[in-house]
Amino acid sequence: MTKGQAISLQKNDGGSLTAVRMGLGWQAAPRRGLFGSRTREIDLDASAVLFADKQPVDVVFFRHLVSDDGSVRHTGDNLVGGVGQGGDDEAILVDLARVPVHIDQIVFTVNSFTGQTFQEVQNAFCRLVDETNGQELARYTLAGGGAYTAQIMAKVHRSGAGWTMTAIGTPANGRTFQDLMPTILPVL
């Protein structure tokens, strides 16, 4: 999937997607030097911002793990990253069928809470998965992505009766999703 590309989340067999997961995985960067074993810990955070008519109405992130309506759930904060074996260290699950009717867009973001840029992170990736069958819909490699501390990943938005996902991939800078609001608003 490339930047700006949109895919409909309608399945080929006519049924539409009911649940998607945004997964985030990374590995701390090893530091070269005398104390080679001492790796610097890197904390990346995944967030999902729920918009109604371009107004943010709810946010799911490490301080608010379940949206009030229960349709969007964060699996919990991971402060140090994983072992880089391809698994998600943080994930946000979205039950599209239960998203309140006034929410028309959900934007997924990634931030570096500890401030390292994506250049310093190893094996960092971010992906969207069809939760019902585990099929990967989109995948970004964040590592080596440039001197940025955040990225607006993708948005899912209502189109007709179903949902469509658009890859965004806009780099940004900020510690939490709040800092990204100015960057998010133009892509809505």
Binding site: A19, T75, D95
Partner: protein, 655 residues
């Protein structure tokens, strides 16, 4: 554009109507004080707190919570007010939570517009021994309002903080606030058991079943300790949700890779795969757990959460539709082009049509979810064991004295205004962690049919008897003993089923002497068991000691109680539950008000139930006000009599 404030920094406010959002990792009390031109709060009426949550232009939450939204309308604040301080404090009443901010995550405060756009945010860092803190202040400067990040903490808690604000009655008010918080705590439904990380039941029904084992045969996080009762942990706390991915720092798995634990749980009933586009057919017991009892318990809590959340979705959509229509109508009115011709009317109609459309959609989504939950309730209710079943359930007619104590007991039903006929069983874990208080007092909510206080008192006693009978019936023979204190004998008609069938250890105690005798014996029992447990010698209790759980029903409190008896009662309420002595009070708080604040800790330690439907219970997720209905025996039914006769027969055989 959000300003991230540091301590002492200020920021202009362009809007008058604001929301102040607080996120703390732990439940905190949020209050606000008004200050005059010298920054002093002139009297206790200048403080908005959980006991008096509303002031002109200001509203705070009635309860302690990890997340708060304070509504502020600066235009509505009186002219004499020059400063609004937002305070956070750790609740002190229950003694269970952290006592200082140094032990919890740094609280985060955001000033936002009504649409949620953030104006300024502030993370209160650097707190240590403080238990109360002034988070922000909004203040007038040359006719305009500004916000300043304060972050001034007080180790002496709210009392010291309020003294510093110039309030002479600070200590009294701080105590009052603590009491109000504790009272709202007594109204909240205890938190449910931990949901597993993949606890979304709709997906679980459709996809492969989540077993309590992870992929490698290790117990999955969250499912590992299914029987540990949960305290009042806020559901949003990170501890409740576990990362689903395996992590390097996880516990080491010592179990044999090829060997399963001794008794694998019986297979979970499986929902047949649904046709595409159709919701799956609900199945009773379709939740995780080691036994059917536990699976039903988890399923009911899942239904409770689903109803809370789907209603929250509906309410937020309607709120959004309302605020959008209001904004569009304002725009239509203020646009001068619309003043002439039909354009204004057209714009108004368009806004109203948009509103109606969104509300209809929200209603449709709610109706869909309600229908699914109703279908689930239709299969779950008939499958419930006696402990969870309504009295009109046929399971009671085939009642047998059980061999095991169930996980929980149904104390009534819960519903919301939106939920129609759907009722969620309200289950409370056994053994009871808190005593119960069946409120025989009149509330403003009750209509005139209950103007007769004695009628309400009788109904309260009937509720108590139905609950006591249920507790007797769901415990194995001889493992549950009921004592009754009915000083004036006014509960005799309601108590008749218990007395006649002979399930009581002794007839209801009457008069002051009876009260003293029963309380004395139970107090001694608590002392003995506590001593034995603390001394590490639970085997050394005297021979013939009754090891059953004890329930004390007190009717007509405080009639027949002297100071000594009241103290004993408080002792039982505090120390009893841990050693198997439980309290059920049937009382009107007003009547006991002569004892003053002495009894406040007693009331707040009890779970309040009402004999008539009343919306006083809050759920642990979104905090809706749920209407509670007691579990009563249907009029004319003999089921209570039959069940109690069986219980009494089993008792005589056992002893």
């Amino acid at each position: 554009m959000t300003a991230e404030l540091v301590r002492g920094q200020n920021h202009p406010l362009s809007q008058a109507r604001l929301e102040i959002r607080v996120s703390a990792g732990t439940p905190v009390v949020a209050s606000a004080t008004l200050g005059d031109e010298n920054g002093k709060a002139r009297s206790t009426e200048w403080v908005a707190h959980p006991g008096a949550p509303t002031l002109p232009g200001l509203e705070v939450s009635r309860q302690a919570a990890a997340d708060h939204r304070l509504a502020v309308d600066l235009d509505a604040v009186p002219e004499t007010v020059h400063r609004v301080s937002v305070l956070l404090a750790l609740p002190t009443a229950d003694g269970a939570g952290p006592a200082r901010f140094g032990a919890v995550a740094a609280p985060f405060v955001a000033v936002t517009g009504l649409d949620g756009t953030e104006v300024a945010t502030y993370t209160i860092t650097g707190l240590d021994a403080e238990s109360a803190v002034v988070a922000l202040e909004l203040y007038r400067r040359q006719g305009a309002w500004k916000v300043r990040a304060v972050g001034q903490g007080y180790a002496g808690g709210l009392a010291e903080l309020l003294t510093d604000q110039g309030l002479p009655e600070a200590h009294h008010l701080a105590g009052h606030i603590d009491e109000a918080v504790a009272r709202s705590l007594a109204r909240s439904v205890p938190a449910p058991p931990q949901r597993t990380a993949d606890g979304d039941r709709t997906r679980q029904a459709a996809g492969p079943h989540a077993s309590p084992y992870g992929p490698q045969g290790t117990p999955a996080p969250g499912a590992a300790q299914p029987t540990v009762p949960q305290g009042l942990t806020p559901p949003d706390s990170p501890a409740l949700t576990q990362p689903s991915a395996p992590s390097a720092s996880g516990p080491i798995d010592y179990s044999h890779p090829g060997r399963r634990p001794a008794a694998p749980p019986p297979p979970v009933p499986t929902a047949p795969p649904a046709a595409p586009g159709q919701p799956t057919q609900p199945v009773a017991g379709d939740a995780t757990g080691w036994s059917m009892d536990e699976r039903l318990y988890n399923q009911i809590w899942g239904m409770f959460e689903d109803l809370a959340r789907t209603t929250a979705a509906y309410r937020s959509a309607v709120d959004f539709a309302d605020s959008r229509m209001e904004k569009e109508l304002d725009q239509a009115l203020s646009d001068p082009r619309h003043r002439i011709g039909g354009q204004g009317d057209a714009a108004r109609e368009a806004a109203q049509a948009k509103h109606a459309h969104l509300v209809d959609q929200a209603r449709a989504a709610l109706d869909r979810d309600l229908a699914q939950l109703a279908a689930e309730a239709d299969v779950v209710e008939p499958a419930l064991p006696p402990a969870y079943a309504r009295w009109d359930n046929p399971v009671w007619h085939g009642y047998r004295v059980p061999m095991e104590i169930p996980m929980a007991v149904r104390v009534g039903d819960l519903h919301l205004p939106e939920s129609g006929l759907l009722r969620i069983p309200m289950l409370v874990r056994l053994p009871l962690e808190r005593g119960l208080w069946i409120d025989s007092g009149r509330s403003e909510l009750f209509d005139d049919s209950f103007a007769d206080a004695t009628g309400l008192g009788n109904l309260a006693m009937e509720t108590a008897v139905a609950l006591a009978a249920r507790l007797l019936a769901i415990h194995p023979a001889g493992e549950f003993t009921v004592h009754i204190v009915d000083p004036a004998g006014s509960g005799a008609p309601a108590l008749a089923p218990l007395v006649r069938t002979g399930v009581l250890a002794a007839p209801p105690a009457q008069g002051a002497a009876g009260v003293a005798d029963v309380l004395g014996r139970l107090t001694e029992r608590v002392d003995l068991v506590q001593m034995a447990v603390r001394g590490g010698a639970p085997d050394s209790l005297p021979p013939g000691f009754d090891t059953a759980q004890q329930l004390l029903i007190v009717n007509d409190f405080p009639h027949g109680f002297d100071d000594r008896a009241v103290n004993q009662l408080r002792y039982l309420a505090d120390e009893g539950p841990a050693v198997g002595v439980h309290l059920m009070m049937v009382a009107d708080r007003e009547e006991a008000s002569a004892y003053g604040p002495l009894l406040d800790p007693l009331w707040r330690s009890l779970l309040r139930l009402t004999p008539v439907p009343d919306d006083h219970l809050a759920d642990p997720w979104v905090g809706h006000a749920w209407t509670y209905e007691p579990a009563l025996v249907p009029p004319g039914s003999q089921v209570l009599q039959q069940v109690l006769t069986l219980v009494a027969a089993a008792r005589t055989k056992y002893t």
